[in-house]
């Protein structure tokens, strides 16, 4: 189990169908869409400049859209209680062109940004989003801001520098495959490793959340997956309501926490001899170093929507880089279904610019994943499987071996069932969307 921050990508204007469609000059054209007398109700919206565009969203629903200036203007008038027809007339006066606000509003409803249509709750994504808006906000921002102030980030950076430097200069402290069983009983060792992994992963996620709270946004927690790996995920979608430079802290916070612990463990290990740290404790610290290095290395796998992927996508100003790159790659390999092609065609220009090189990176990442699957995951699963099968078949319920095998069975099956269950849920959601 590895921890991970997640942030749902923002919908590009074209993707959501939410750009105000422009029609021929002079003739008001409502075309398809809601009628001119309709009044639209929104939640409390955030509008954040993003280059030449704006990210408009309902933080409480976790729905964000990338829109041009004209879309923002339309929303501002709709928010002020003007009807679709009145807004159309105002925009026509401003732009000198007829603007299809009805179709624009349809796109907003599809995207889930609209809460009320003529006072009646809107169907679709908004209703779903309302149902699942369980943002955790239990801590006041002023109480945790000191954890993510300038001084704190200097400390985090120093810990990262020390950790990387120590691992580079002192090979004996680097993680290795034999740095796992630190106690003569494998069952005890593995139980503690699992417990430590869960604790580190949970605090990693909590650190994302606290950093988000320091910026005034909430988060949601979920069990998720990256490829075949189970992960804990913190949904930081509300970060889209912040200017870009304020999103980096919450995205990097999980790794910052891990670097602090890693630096501490390495410092104690390096000083173990003069400090007289007992050998068992030293070996335990070596295991913690192993877990932390694996976790931090995992975040570097940017093709898996990890923390550093989100940092990269944010820095590039991309809105849905991974999905667009996958579509791009698929288009180059086997072609796209019409709906996929439309989605690719409507992707944000920055996503489209980055997609070719990121897709190449993605292919290399798939190779790395395949290597990990064959060389580590399958052998480890086979080892666990052998322990389970032989332990359950050959040992009786009065023997420790039987119960160890049962515990390993539960652990192994949960590790395999977790990503599978998440995949099935994702597929069901995709099918519902398609339907």
């Amino acid at each position: 189990m590895i921890s991970h921050a997640g942030a749902n990508d923002v919908s590009a204007p074209g993707q959501s169908g939410a750009s105000p469609g422009q029609s021929g000059p002079g003739v008001p054209d409502q075309g398809p869409g809601v009628g001119p007398d309709v009044v639209i109700g929104f939640g409390e919206l955030s509008i954040v400049p993003e280059g030449e565009e704006f990210v408009v969203g309902d933080p409480e629903l976790g729905v964000f859209l990338g829109l041009p200036q004209i879309g923002v203007t339309a929303i501002e008038h709709l928010c002020a209680g003007r009807t679709v027809g009145q807004t159309t007339a105002i925009l026509a006066g401003v732009t000198g062109e007829n603007v299809n606000v009805g179709e624009f509003v349809d796109g907003l409803i599809d995207a889930g940004l609209v809460r009320l249509v003529d006072g009646v709750p809107a169907d679709g994504k908004a209703a779903t989003a309302v149902a699942r808006r369980r943002w955790v906000t239990g801590v006041r921002p002023e109480h945790v801001r000191w954890l993510f102030g300038r001084t704190a980030w200097v400390l985090y950076g120093a810990c990262a520098a020390w950790s990387v430097g120590a691992l580079a200069a002192l090979p004996e402290y680097r993680p290795s495959l034999i740095s796992l069983l630190f106690y003569p009983d494998p069952a005890v060792s593995l139980s503690i490793i699992v417990a430590v992994s869960i604790i580190i992963g949970s605090v990693h996620e909590a650190w994302h959340w606290l950093a988000g709270r320091a910026e005034g946004v909430g988060a949601r927690f979920a069990a998720s997956r990256r490829a075949f790996l189970p992960v804990l995920e913190t949904d930081l979608t509300q970060l889209w309501s912040l200017p870009r430079r304020r999103r980096y802290g919450p995205l990097l916070a999980g790794m910052a926490f891990e670097f602090v612990v890693l630096a501490g463990c390495l410092a104690v290990r390096v000083a173990a001899k003069p400090l007289g740290v007992p050998p068992l404790e030293d070996r335990f610290l070596a295991v913690v170093v192993n877990i932390l290095v694996v976790s931090i290395a995992f975040q570097c796998l940017v093709f898996l929507r990890t923390d550093l992927y989100l940092v990269l996508a944010t820095a590039l100003g991309c809105q849905d880089l991974l999905r667009v790159s996958r579509l791009y790659l698929r288009s180059r390999l086997i072609g796209l279904a019409p709906a996929q092609q439309t989605r690719l065609d409507n992707a944000h220009p920055r996503d489209l610019r980055a997609a070719p090189w990121f897709a190449a990176f993605y292919v290399a990442g798939l190779g790395l994943l395949a290597w990990l699957l064959v060389n580590l995951w399958l052998p480890a699963t086979a080892v666990g499987g052998g322990w389970i099968v032989f332990g359950l078949v050959h040992a009786s319920a009065s023997q420790t071996t039987f119960w160890e095998a049962l515990a390993i069975a539960v652990l192994t099956l949960s590790q395999a069932a977790w990503p599978l269950a998440v995949y099935l849920k994702e597929r069901a959601a995709r099918n519902r969307t398609t339907a």
Binding site: L181, P184, V287, I334, G367, L378, A405
Partner: protein, 193 residues
């Protein structure tokens, strides 16, 4: 589906195939190593080594500690059936099961195991050696040993009546890394007669 043809398509397919090839070529997973069916040849010729050679046994993985398996041919063992897990090197105050220790030997490490009755001063001397070679050595008590100290490497053993720092250091420095699922060519080159 939207058809897509041309050189770009060939490029992306070539990239996929190349990536797959790199994965296959670099995969080190070995069913033979996993099942313990590797039959290494005789040890490489070398300068005289400390201790005595012990015939290498078939060394399959066993599923769990306590699982019945073939008997070892030395005490402590220097090869044979072992757990798939590898225990860390370092100083242990508890005995380490043979089935765990053998796997460490299979990766080129050295085991120093002493009789429980070994005087504390000698154990302290062993601790100092194990700390000095912490990446190579596992030190632990060994209840099956009536007296003295056993040094083991893969296929090699030396029994000492007491903690002789010079002999132990020589055993470690000459035999570490000699074997790691196969006889090490680098070790053989460095210790050629």
């Amino acid at each position: 589906m939207t058809p897509f043809t041309g050189r770009r398509r060939a490029f992306w397919w070539a990239l996929m195939v190349l990536t797959a090839a790199v994965v296959v070529v670099n995969s080190t997973v070995s069913w033979a190593a996993f099942a313990g069916t590797i039959k290494p040849g005789p040890p490489p010729a070398s300068i005289p080594l400390p201790g005595r050679e012990v015939p290498i046994l078939p060394s399959p993985h066993i599923p769990y500690l306590g699982y019945s398996h073939a008997r070892y041919n030395s005490l402590p063992p220097t090869s044979g059936p072992h757990l798939p897990w590898v225990i860390m090197t370092g100083i242990y105050e508890q005995p380490v099961a043979d089935e765990l220790g053998v796997h460490l030997l299979e990766h080129g490490h050295i085991l120093i195991q002493y009789a429980p009755a070994t005087p504390a001063a000698q154990v302290a001397r062993l601790d100092a050696i194990a700390l000095r070679y912490s990446a190579d050595v596992l030190l632990a008590p060994y209840p099956k040993l009536g007296s003295g100290i056993a040094l083991t490497a893969w296929g090699r053993i030396e029994m000492l009546p007491r903690a002789d720092t010079g002999a132990i250091t020589q055993f470690i420095t000459l035999l570490r890394g000699r074997y790691d699922h196969k006889w090490s060519p680098a070790w053989a080159a460095a210790h050629a007669p």
